[in-house]
Amino acid sequence: MSAPASSNRPLSPHLQVYKPQLTSILSITHRMTGVALSVGTLLLVYWLIAAATGPEAFATAQGLIGSPIGYLALFGWTIALFYHLSNGIRHLGWDAGYGFDLPTVYKTGYAVLAATGGLTVLAWVVGLALQS
């Protein structure tokens, strides 16, 4: 395990001196949204349990989700979900062997950002229109 001090192996640059790029930012964002969604899924299970428990528990859950903090959490959840979904499809493309050249990587990266924004706005516009 111990690395010899005299080793002349190249050292990868430390993160804090590495210029942030679209590729690296999108990569870590995929991981962060994945962790955030894992936590956010607790809300989904809570909602289902409340529906299974009864009308009072369900009303409490709906009130919580319908509060300003609930809406903020739900909004963050939809952004994370649509980002992870879009970028996940990008990852599946890479897994199949497509889109590795740098211009394509940037093109699909911007497409993921556009899809995240578009799907989030669409979901909320339709959702709020149906509710009122």
Binding site: R31, G34, V35, L37, S38, T41, L42, L44, V45, L48, I49, A51, A52, G54, P55, F58, A59, T78, L81, L85, G88, I89, H91, L92, D95, A123, V126, G127, L128, L130, Q131
Partner: protein, 128 residues
Amino acid sequence: MSQPLRTTLGRVRGLGSAKEGVSHWWAQRLTAIALVPLVLWFVVSVISLAGADHATVRAWAGGPIVATLLVAMIVAVFFHAKLGLQVVLEDYIHHEGTRVTAIVVMQGAVFLVGLAGVIAVLKLALGA
């Protein structure tokens, strides 16, 4: 051609040094593919239920097709989350004992929450 260091049997088994092969990687991809339509369906359904009362949500989630899709989605979501969180913990926790403990605790928590979600859907679908 130089002689490979791996034994012939090791090459045939294809399990690598972790003795797991590509099962973790493959399961992560399969659950991802399954979740694309399931999650899109779920989001559209939840949006159409915005502001609905308890009876409506109960009737929706309790229908046999919706309940089936919900259980399938919950199983895929929590399996996918378990696989992803495991990789995150493996990457960032360097002390072996802490890492193994964290992974075991995470798996137990993910399993319990997922199970609670499945039971909630089954209760809605099967009455009581």
